[in-house]
């Protein structure tokens, strides 16, 4: 059976070409049709592949090689695509959620200039994202990896006349390039160790050397983690994601929440064979994950821009996924990746609906009382909020619980990080309900009384409703079923009954987690449920801590002062003035001095302009020939 895997990315690419080249001249309806039809067709192909997988009629992994890409010396790289259970999950998320967000965009972007440009970029993003998850080797994965970065750059800078948008796009690309630097070094190390970049061949290489532990594998894993931290916005490379909110809101939903930023998690899960042999690298991943989860959640507590709260929340949730990977719970991490794609896309799109309804207002302090005016948005957002807060039976509860449970079982480090995760869960529940109460409850705090909040059109609400349903039911299959489906790729999931503590421990942890989530909710209700001075009082009581959070720990300023500024100063003064100004220029003068001296001698015979130099050249050549002839004669 031929699945035509290569068509899955190529279809959105065709959409990109059509809209990118002709979109300006096409009517809006045609642009929308093209932009929606191609991703939908890709989704159709994915559904067909899924049917083949679920019916069991397909041997996995299923590999398709389209042709050879690079053949040079010992290096042979193919355009080859592979389908296995992990890729299938990713494909379904990307094309499914991706299509819904395309649909939403039709309404959201309807009045924007550059409508065609927006959709061509969005299709281009899908192309690269699909390549990323379908690739059978690291280099092809890197094509998608850098490509989604490009699409992200273009879409963050969509409103390019705003300086902040252009700056944010540039920052995202450059910070991601720092991650890519690590990814490249990881690939070089893999080439040095295994002589290939193919996933399956590296798997064979690993199987042939069971004694190979740590050492070079730790180096490879850590390099790859640098790449993953860039793409998945983890400490220390998370700084680009909050700024990326300059892009249109559906872009934040698709690229900066549901799909692209999960690429780092996907990459670690995909190459877990290497990580499994390096406990040190895994510990690093777990610590980065838990640290980022808590760190970002604290910043989210005090943000007033609705999209920035969600951005820090995304960073924090990605931290959970890293924590999952770091404790070897790859299935749980991917499970959370999936449920997060549902509820975070929902939250962003609902936030977009609010922003749309308020004519571009993003400040939570100027919202309020939207419950009645935007009922569908209100109810769907409620689904997203309870899902992320971890309240059963919504999706987020199951996946977050799976990660925390496995962390708890993972030695001393894991147990410590479990408590970090638990604290994060408390904060998460608090800041999400804070957002919810500020936006939808109480009285309207808007200055703009002429612009009446209105509910969004159905092209926007339909995706919200579908995602709300997915946020509700997306987790009920449970980690057992999900994990056993992925087990051929990610290894078996430990059965809780066989672990120390058994089922009782699992239930205990579950109840603790739910209790924590409810505690966060109640606290938020207490502070933000109705008009109250309490938040302001708390902030005034601890001004130091409040300032630290509002200023996001001054990390951007720190990077600017420690890295960017010094680099510019060194380039400008040490390289520019000393290197170029003194050394290079000096040697040029020296040369010129020698030449002028020679020129002075020549000037006695000639005028010294360039055209007569050519005459001299001819004369010189003749002289040389005679000289050479003389030499020949001498040699004989």
């Amino acid at each position: 059976m031929n699945l035509y895997l290569f068509l899955i990315p190529l279809l959105p690419f065709a959409g990109f070409l059509v809209n990118g080249l002709l979109g300006k001249r096409l009517p809006k309806a045609v642009v929308s049709t093209v932009a929606l039809a191609f991703p939908l067709a890709a989704f159709g192909l994915v559904a067909r592949a899924a049917q083949a997988v679920f019916s069991g009629s397909l041997d996995l992994p299923y590999v398709e090689t389209v042709g050879s890409w690079i053949n040079a010396g010992p290096l042979h790289i193919d355009f080859s695509f592979a389908l296995d259970q992990l890729t299938l999950v990713m494909l379904l998320i990307i094309t499914g959620v991706g299509f819904l967000i395309h649909l939403y965009s039709v309404g959201y972007m309807a009045h924007e200039e550059g409508y065609w440009r927006y959709f061509s970029y969005l299709n281009l993003f899908l192309f690269f994202m699909l390549i990323l998850v379908l690739a059978e080797n690291y280099l092809l994965m890197f094509v998608g990896w850098e490509g989604v970065g490009l699409a992200s750059y273009l879409l963050i800078g969509f409103y390019y006349q705003k300086k902040s948008a252009g700056d944010a796009g540039k920052k995202a690309f450059v910070v991601n390039r720092i991650g890519d630097f690590g990814f490249l070094l990881g690939m070089f190390l893999l080439l040095a160790q295994f002589g290939t970049l193919s996933f399956s061949k590296i798997g064979v290489g690993l199987a042939e050397t069971p004694g190979l532990q740590g050492g070079i594998l730790t180096a490879i894993a850590l390099c790859l983690v640098v790449g993953a931290c860039g793409k998945s916005a983890q400490i220390p490379l998370y700084v680009w994601l909050p700024d990326a909110m300059e892009g249109p809101t559906p872009v934040s939903a698709l690229i900066h929440a549901a799909t692209m930023v999960t690429a780092g998690v996907y990459m670690i899960a995909r190459t877990h064979g290497i990580f499994d042999r390096s406990p040190f690298a895994l510990a690093v991943v777990a610590i980065i994950g838990a640290g980022t989860a808590l760190f970002a959640a604290t910043i989210a507590l005090v943000q007033t821009d609705i999209k920035r709260v969600l951005a820090y929340s995304t960073i924090s949730q990605l931290g959970y996924m890293f924590l999952g990977c770091g404790v070897g719970a790859y299935s749980a991490a991917v499970f959370h990746l999936m449920t997060h794609a549902f509820f975070k896309a929902l939250l962003f799109l609902a936030a977009g609906s609010v922003i749309h309804g308020l004519g571009g207002e993003q400040n939570l302090l100027k919202m309020g009382g939207l419950r009645k005016k935007m009922p569908v948005t209100f109810w769907t957002m409620a689904m997203g909020v309870v899902a992320i807060a971890g309240i059963p039976p919504w999706a987020g509860f199951f996946s977050k619980d799976a990660i925390l449970y496995e962390a708890f079982q993972h030695g001393v480090l894991g147990r410590g990080l479990y408590f970090v995760g638990l604290l994060t869960a408390l904060l998460t529940s608090f800041y999400m309900f804070r957002l919810f109460y500020l936006a939808f409850f109480g009285e309207s705090r808007s200055d703009d009384h002429h612009h009446h909040a209105h509910e969004s059109p159905w092209s926007m609400l339909t995706p919200l409703v579908i995602l709300a349903i997915l946020s509700l039911i997306g987790g009920v299959m449970g980690i057992e079923h999900f994990g056993s489906f992925l087990s051929p790729v990610l290894g078996p999931v430990a059965d809780s009954a066989s672990l120390p503590g058994g089922k009782n421990l699992e239930w205990t942890l579950m109840i603790v987690a739910v209790g924590i989530a409810v505690l966060g909710w109640l606290t938020a209700r207490l502070y933000y449920g109705r008009k109250s001075e309490r938040p302001g009082q708390v902030a005034a009581a601890v001004p130091g801590a409040y300032n630290l959070l509002v200023n996001k720990y001054w990390i951007d300023e720190l990077y600017g002062g420690l890295i960017v500024k010094p680099l510019m100063l060194i380039s400008q003064f040490i390289l520019g003035w000393i290197g170029e100004g003194i050394i290079i220029r000096g040697s040029a003068w020296l040369l010129a001095g020698v030449a002028t001296l020679l020129g002075e001698l020549l000037r006695r015979w000639q005028s010294g302009n360039l055209r007569s130099y050519s005459a001299w050249l001819a004369a010189g050549a003749a002289a040389l020939l005679i000289f050479a002839k003389y030499l020949t004669w001498m040699v004989r």
Binding site: G73, L75, R177, G579, V635
Partner: protein
């Protein structure tokens, strides 16, 4: 068409000269010289395409060879031929000539006869460098390529009134001419010892230890310096920023890179493998530092020609790094990257030239928010820029990846890692440039601008180049097969059997890697 094989290279060399003669004979009326130059260069380009169409990458030795004695004493032959190494460089030179003519179309308004005639002579000289297999013939073309360049910069530069163009021309002339003198002495010395200027003969003579080690060191050094200046390698690049700022676009796009890099591979590494290996650690260090140095300086320039100049130093350093790593994939990557740099650099010169033509300034601060008025220009600039920073599926990525990965796995992890930092810096300076020129609020100059986007002529050239960048990026094997045969055939070259026995020879190493690669 096979019957053409024997004379095709001569045809390629003579065609531009004939065109130059025709231009000089015709009156200087309107666009006439430009039209003749365009027809000539297109014809030459078509002829160069004959080469890859009929090239046999399985065969050993040079192909399309033509040889006859030119001057009996001294023994100078007219001996031309190409192998995988030079094949695509000849095509690249052919490709860039019509683009150079189109880029000069409006910007050169006076003394067009002299301009286009010299342009075509320069064309012959560059092609001659790539196909000459007789060292004296090669040297003739090498020198010939410098003279029209210097004259064109001096006569047609951007800032003739301030006298900085003639100054840049003089600096270029001095920088390249002075090291050419020791090169000539070295070639003549070799002739005095062997009685031959023939490349293959000399290769064997040197390989069979006909000379003292000290002598070879000096010879190799003379060759190295002459070529390294022309690349330019870090430290010898003093002429480049000025030339980029002053030279007419069509000249600037061919002045750096390919001639020097090709000569390094063919005549430094090819003739003096032992000495080249001794120089390799220095060259690798210079290359890796050059990548960072160029990119850092590009980051802080206020003039866009200078951004391009320092960016070019960085990209060319990748080629040097590949050459002196002495790995097969590295050589492949270096030659491929030389071609990439030619294509991408040409596109960037056309783009920046278009900006300069419209606004009359190269100061970046005068620009801002241009994307709204000239979307095509902005899009093509971004596309070309992405190729420059090595985005995968563009040509730049393949070359950089081959060079960096082979350096890392086969030469030095430290230098390779340092050079890889270049991928971060190149993105930083390129995106900053895009940001300052095209994004953000509109500057005074841009508000005053009536808003003419790229014309048909410019779009044609730029889309064409963009397609080539993508084509090479997606199917690099089309080029790599030929290039690799050039490196491999040197290993299997029959007259080199003696040299194969010498352990230190670069080709032995390459040959070994070829065998390893087959597994």
């Amino acid at each position: 068409m096979d019957s053409m094989n024997g004379i095709i290279l001569s045809l390629i060399l003579i065609a531009p000269l004939v065109g130059a003669a025709v231009i000089l004979l015709l009156p200087e009326k309107g666009k006439l010289p430009a039209i003749v130059a365009l027809i000539t260069s297109l014809f030459t380009f078509l002829c160069t395409l004959h080469l890859p169409a009929h090239f046999n990458s399985g065969a050993a030795g040079f192909q399309f060879v033509q040889e006859f004695t030119w001057i009996a004493s001294p023994d100078i032959h007219y001996h031309v031929g190409v192998d995988g190494l030079s094949l695509w460089l000849v095509v690249l030179t052919g490709l860039l000539a019509p683009i150079g003519v189109l880029a000069s179309w409006n910007s050169i308004k006076e003394r067009t006869k002299v301009y286009y005639a010299l342009f075509l002579v320069q064309q012959t000289a560059m092609l001659g460098v790539f196909v000459s297999l007789d060292l004296m013939l090669y040297y003739g073309f090498w020198e010939l390529s410098l003279v029209p360049m210097a004259i064109l910069i001096a006569m047609y530069g951007r800032n003739l009134t301030e006298n900085s163009s003639p100054k840049a021309a003089l600096r270029f002339f001095i920088y390249t001419f002075v090291p050419s003198a020791p090169l000539l002495v070295a070639i003549l010395w070799l002739y005095a010892k062997t009685g031959s200027f023939d490349f293959a003969t000399l290769q064997v003579a040197i390989g069979t230890h006909a000379f003292s080690t000290a002598a070879l060191c000096w010879l190799a050094f003379a060759f190295l310096v002459a070529f390294a200046v022309k690349v330019p390698v870090l430290g010898l690049h003093g002429w480049l920023p000025d030339v980029f700022s002053e030279a007419p676009v069509a000249m600037a796009m061919v002045v750096a890179g390919k001639l020097g890099l090709y000569s390094l591979i063919r005549f430094h590494v090819g003739l003096f493998p032992v000495q080249a290996r001794q120089a390799a650690p220095w060259m690798i260090a210079l290359a890796a530092i050059g990548i960072l140095y160029g990119a850092c300086l590009a980051l802080v320039q206020k003039d866009f020609w200078r951004v391009l100049a320092y960016g070019t130093i960085a990209s060319l350093s990748f080629c040097t790094l590949g050459i002196y790593g002495f790995t097969l994939a590295g050589f492949d990557g270096a030659v491929l990257q030389t071609i990439n740099e030619g294509v991408i650099g040409a596109a960037l010169f056309v783009l920046l030239g278009a900006l300069y033509e419209r606004f009359g300034t190269s100061t970046i601060a005068n620009y801002g928010g241009l994307a709204k008025k000239t979307p095509a220009l902005a899009n093509l600039f971004v596309i070309t820029g992405l190729a420059l920073v090595g985005l995968p599926l563009f040509n730049g990525f393949v070359g950089e990846f081959l060079v960096l990965s082979s350096t890392f796995t086969g030469v030095s992890k430290g230098w390779a890692a340092a050079a890889t930092i270049g991928v971060i810096l190149s993105a930083a300076y390129l995106l900053s440039l895009v940001q300052k020129i095209f994004y953000g609020p509109e500057s005074q100059a841009v508000i005053a601008y009536p808003g003419k986007d790229l014309g048909f002529r410019e779009q044609l050239v730029l889309w064409y180049l963009a397609l080539i960048m993508l084509g090479i990026g997606i199917c690099p094997n089309i080029l790599l097969n030929g290039i690799e045969s050039g490196v491999q055939q040197s290993a299997g070259y029959p007259t080199l059997s003696e040299q194969m026995k010498s352990n230190a020879s670069s080709f032995v190493v390459i040959a070994q890697e070829v065998r390893k690669g087959g597994k």
